[in-house]
Each structure stands twice: as C-alpha cells, then as structure tokens.
C-alpha cells in the first residue's frame, strides 16, 4: 500500500461520526458610513487613504506623494500617460526596480482595510509585493463590511492567484518594535473614488 492509500485508510478508520457544518449566514455588520469606517481602519494599520472624486484627479497627486522620476507601473489604461503599462509576458524579476505600482482593487473590506486583488488586476502576480510603494484604486461602491461579504462577492470566481492585502508590509520580529516595510512595499496608499 502506498502512502496515499495508507493515509486515507487510516483517516477513514479513525475519523469520528459526521459532525454537521454550522450556518454562517448570521454574521452581519451594517456600517452607517462604510467609507469612513474603511478609512479609519486602514489608517490605523499604517496605510494612507486619499479620497478623490474621479480617477483623473489622482494624476497630480502622484508627484506630490511619490518619486515618479523612478519607475512607475500600472494596469490602468487611464494612467498610461503617467505610468508604464505592465507587460504581462515579461520575466517577473524585471520588476525589481519598480518604485510605485498603481493597480485597481476588485473590492475592499471595511473591518480590516484589506483590498482583494486577483492576478488579472495585478498585471503580474509579483507586482503588489515587489514594488517599493503600492497605490490601489478603490471605488466606494466596491466597499463591503466584513470578510463574509467579501467572500459572498468573490463566490465562485475563478482565478489562478488572488490575495487580500491589508496595508504596507510589516514586521515586529525584533523586540516587538513595529517596522513598516519588511519584504514587501514600504507604504500603501488607497485612492478612494467617491462619486
């Protein structure tokens, strides 16, 4: 008997009588002002939220907040005049020198500040992790209260890779001192589009 069969046989023999799955539909949080809640939580984690009324308005803000003389990449065609469009075919190692990446979130979660990204909005999987600074465009109508609502929307979506990102990369491994910028981005900015 190979290990697969031996393990499955042992598991089958030793598992107890079937215990039912619980109902998880009762987890509901209703936010009176979801955009304020999101902003408060994300700022508390060490991120930055900048509200704008339309995408076009973020262009002048980029040079104010970032060094755009260095390599700036995006997946948003609307920003192609201020940033390089990400080539999905090239070797991911070639993005090592990216200073700023600007991408769009599928949704964002008020209870923890996290944005949901799939590889289609990342351009390449490595982008939101390898850049020095990450900026994510979130539209107000894509905000949800909790992770339950988030998975309700993600539902049966198919993707090769997806991830929640909830702030700048961080560590507290040295004497519990919080340091932003462990291996991933040093900062994370949300451009929240409120119409």
């Amino acid at each position: 008997m190979n290990s697969r069969e031996a393990i499955l046989a042992a598991v089958k023999k030793n598992q107890p009588a079937l215990s039912p799955l619980p109902d998880i539909s009762m987890f509901k949080v209703v936010e009176a002002d979801i955009a304020s809640r999101y902003t408060e939580v994300f700022t508390g984690i060490g991120g930055q939220v900048i509200a704008v009324s339309e995408l076009e308005h973020i262009k002048p803000l980029l040079s104010e907040h970032f060094d755009i003389s260095k390599r700036t990449v995006t997946t948003l065609p609307e920003l192609s005049d201020v940033a390089e469009l990400i080539n999905t075919e090239v070797d991911p190692h070639s993005f090592d020198d990216v200073e700023l990446a600007i991408i769009r979130a599928r949704l964002a979660v008020a209870e923890n500040g996290a944005v949901w990204l799939t590889e289609s909005v990342m351009g390449q999987r490595i982008i939101p992790y390898i850049c020095q600074h990450l900026a994510v465009v979130v539209t107000e109508d894509s905000l949800v209260s909790t992770m339950h609502d988030a998975y309700g929307k993600i539902a049966s979506e198919d993707y090769g890779f997806g991830g929640f990102i909830g702030g700048p990369s961080k560590t507290a491994d040295i004497e519990q001192a919080l340091v932003l910028g462990a291996h991933g981005p040093l900062s994370m900015t949300i451009f929240l589009i409120k119409q």
Partner: protein, 461 residues
C-alpha cells in the same frame, strides 16, 4: 539540536536572567492585551469562535472525503500532489523535486511543519542550501536555534543580541541594534535571495477542498516574494489544514490575526490556485501523526489548531519559561498537547508544564479545551509509565495518606510541627518548592482540631 533536558531544567536556565524573564513576560502579555482589544471590538466574536470550532469538527469528521476532493481539484488546477506518511518521506519528496530541476538553493517562508521535519538539515546534507525568509526565522537560523514561538520566532532575543548576529553574518556595524535599521539590512539581503532562488517553499494556513486553492498568511510579504519569483513552487501542509468551502475562509481569516497579535487581518492572505505560465506547483500532504491523533477521542480536537500562538501569549508558564524550554518545534500549551502524540517518552514532561489555569482555552479561536487535554495527557502518561520516578513515588505516598484518616491526621501534625520548629528540614536546596517561594507560617492546629475544640466548648453553653 534536540535537547534531552526536561522543561523544568530548561526553564530554570531561562530563569537565571531575571531581567530577561520579566521583559519576555511583559512583551507577550502586551500582545495578549492587543488580542483582547481586537476581539472586544469585533461583533459576534464568541459566535465566530463557535463557528470556527464547528467547521473544524466537521473537517475532522469528514476528512477522508475532503482530502480526496482537494486532491482532485489540485490536479484539475495543474498542481502536482504528493502524500507523505512521515518526516522522512516528506523530505525525500522535496529533495526529489529539487533534484529533478538541478536546483541547489531554495528560499522558504514560515513553515512549522518543515521545522518539525528537519527539512533544512536534510537538504543541507544533500548539498542544498535553504534560507528562511521570515525575519524572525532568519534570525533563528543564523543563530542555529529553532524558533521559540510559532508566530514570533525570536521573541526571546534582545535587539542587542540580534545586532551582534547581524554584525557577524551580514557585516553590519558593531553595536547597531536599532530595529528599523536592522530590518532594512535584512530586507536588502533577503531581496537578493528572493531574486536568485529558482525554488520557493511555503507552508499552508488553510486549504479549500471545494476549489483546490490554498491560503498562505504573512505580514512581511516573504511568501509572495519567494513564490512569485520562483520557477518551482512547493507547499507543505498537514492534513488538518483543510476547510470545506471558500466562504469558510471568512470565518478563519477574521479570527487568525486578531487572536495572534490583535491585528484585524494579516497584511497578506494569498490564495494560490494554479501555477503561473512556465511555473511548476507542487503540494505535499503530510500525515506525521495526524491520522493516529484522530484515533484518540480525548485529544483529536487539538487538530483544530490554526497556529495563532494565542495560547502561548497568555500562558503564565510559557511567558516565564520561554519557548525553547519546551524542546519541541511547537511550544507552549498547544505544543504540550500535540507533542505527546508524536513521542510520549520524549515529551512526557510537557503536559506538566502548566498550572491548568485555563487561560489558553479561553483565548483559543477554535475553542480547543487545551487545559482539559493537558490534564488528560497527564493521566495517560502516568498510566503508561512515562512519568519520572520522583513524581510516581510522591503521588503514591499522597494517595496512601489521603485514603486513611489516621495517616492523614498524623501526617498533618508532623508537617505542622516541622514547619514551625524545624523549617530548615524542608526549606533547603533539594526541595524544589522552595526555589522560587517562601512558605507562610503554619497554624498551630489543624481545622479538624480547631473544630473539635470549638464544638465541644459551644456545647457547654
């Protein structure tokens, strides 16, 4: 690296540096308080714990079918699946994957399972170099020490000691101990590692049977840096990491980071489903005692653990003895109930490293009755003859004394006389009870004697 000394001996060594013990105790208690604030701010927190526990009960009761479903979906997603009965088989599989691609260097994100399997040493002996990329694990690796905490691997180290290690291994200036500056140096050094390694191995936090995807949680972003730059991606997971459906991730991701460090979610919760074009993805399902633990009804709930470390942060024994004194990869209360299943003789001391105060069970996000299990393991260990002779003798003497009223009274009288007239007979170096405490003075008479006297004098009036 494996120690043969028991928890009490190792804890005593840790306790010699009182200033460090106080600091360690305070640092962990601070994390426990952050966990409390975070839990209190989350509506329906207790219901979430209930739901998580019930989902895990379902997983344990239907694990066979979930494993088969998960495997089918992994294959459909283009992931290669392996099954390993033990550490040796797991390590062989990793080695064979790397050897087929002639890879001699690998980067690894945090994985307690591969620590337990001794993967780094196994690969090192075969000419393959592994670098741990989680900062805390990296620090422990260059110091040639195992992690002392599953979430905070070097929580027992002071920044000056880490500065000294960086000076020796990364050439930083002597005396540099600022956490931000040290982290920047590690960031630069490890970025070069990520960029040059063709293979990356990650652990797994949750694996979804319904979709065949697996989720890896980090705060640093190291798992993603390794995985997305690799041409060979390997994930090692224990069988118990499965959950039934994607929507159940909502429950666990809400609980994990809040219970661990009081953060609303880990910065990165990455859902790996299919390899990217040109990449190979391998997943190893590891038993290593899980299926045998399922056969122990009193202990199988320990398989619910999501490795948040909450029980360690709150445990008064862990906080004052340090993780390394548990001489097991997974330390603290949860380690003390998982370890005896793997090797009862080696870990017979661990269930005794507890006051049974129950704080661990109160914070556990999946409601494992940890302190009950510690108590039950003590009984199993004593019954199977693994407890130290000293303890067996005193237990037998105690049971004899308690079973005879005459002996009980005589023993009490003798004890009180000694404490009052000859305390030096018990308060000496050979009696471990006196090492960290002073005993209060003993009363002149027992309650029994007092009662008899007072009842009699009352009757007279």
């Amino acid at each position: 690296m494996k120690s043969t000394a028991d928890h009490a001996t190792l804890a005593e060594q840790f306790n010699r540096d009182e200033e460090r013990v106080d600091w360690h105790d305070g640092a962990l208690w601070w994390i426990r308080q952050k966990r409390d604030r975070s839990a209190n701010q989350t509506p329906q927190w207790e219901e979430l714990r209930e739901a998580a526990s019930a989902i895990k009960s379902n997983v344990i009761s239907n694990l066979h079918d979930y494993l088969v479903q998960f495997e089918d979906n992994l294959k459909k997603n283009g992931v290669k699946v392996y099954w390993a009965a033990d550490a040796e088989e797991h390590n062989q599989i990793v080695y064979s994957i790397l050897k087929a691609k002639e890879i001699t260097q690998m980067v690894k994100s945090k994985s307690m399972l591969t620590e337990e399997c001794g993967l780094n040493e196994y690969l090192h002996e075969r000419g393959i170099d592994v670098i741990n990329s989680d900062l805390g694990e990296y620090i422990q690796q260059i110091d040639n020490e195992p992690p002392s905490h599953i979430v905070l691997p070097c929580i027992h180290k002071r920044k000056e000691e880490i500065g000294e290690l960086f000076h020796e291994h990364l050439g930083t200036e002597k005396g540099l101990s600022d956490p931000t500056l040290l982290t920047r140096v590690a960031r630069k050094h490890l970025r070069n590692v990520f960029l040059t390694r063709r293979a990356a191995l990650t652990g797994v936090n949750f694996a979804v049977a319904e979709t065949g995807e697996y989720v890896v949680c980090t705060n640093e972003g190291n798992a993603d840096m390794g995985a997305h730059l690799s041409e060979v991606q390997i994930a090692s997971m224990g069988l118990e990491k499965l959950i039934p459906e994607r929507k159940h991730l909502g429950v666990f991701l809400r609980l994990l980071a809040r219970s661990a460090i009081g953060q609303p979610i880990t910065i990165y919760s990455s859902h790996f489903k299919k390899p990217r074009p040109g990449q190979e993805m391998h997943l190893i399902l590891v038993d290593k005692g899980r299926s045998s633990l399922m056969a122990r009804p009193d202990f199988r709930d320990s398989l619910k653990c999501i490795k948040c470390g909450g029980c360690m942060n709150t445990c008064p024994v862990y906080r004052k003895s340090g993780g390394l004194s548990y001489h097991n990869t997974i330390s603290g209360p949860i380690g003390a109930i998982l370890a005896p299943n793997l090797d009862m003789q080696q870990h017979a001391d661990l269930p005794f490293a507890s006051t049974l105060c129950g704080s661990c069970s109160n914070v556990c996000p999946v409601k494992i009755p940890i302190h009950d299990q510690l108590y039950k393991w003590r009984q199993v260990i004593v019954k199977e003859g693994y407890v130290a002779n000293r303890k067996t003798f005193s237990m037998k003497a105690m049971s004899l004394t308690f079973s005879s009223p005459e002996m009980y009274q005589t023993a009490g009288k003798t004890g009180r006389w000694i404490l009052n007239h000859a305390p030096f007979a018990v308060n000496h170096k050979l009696n471990p009870w006196y090492r960290q405490r002073d005993m209060p003075g003993s009363p002149k008479q027992s309650f029994g004697e007092w009662y008899k006297k007072n009842i009699n004098s009352k009757d007279k009036h």
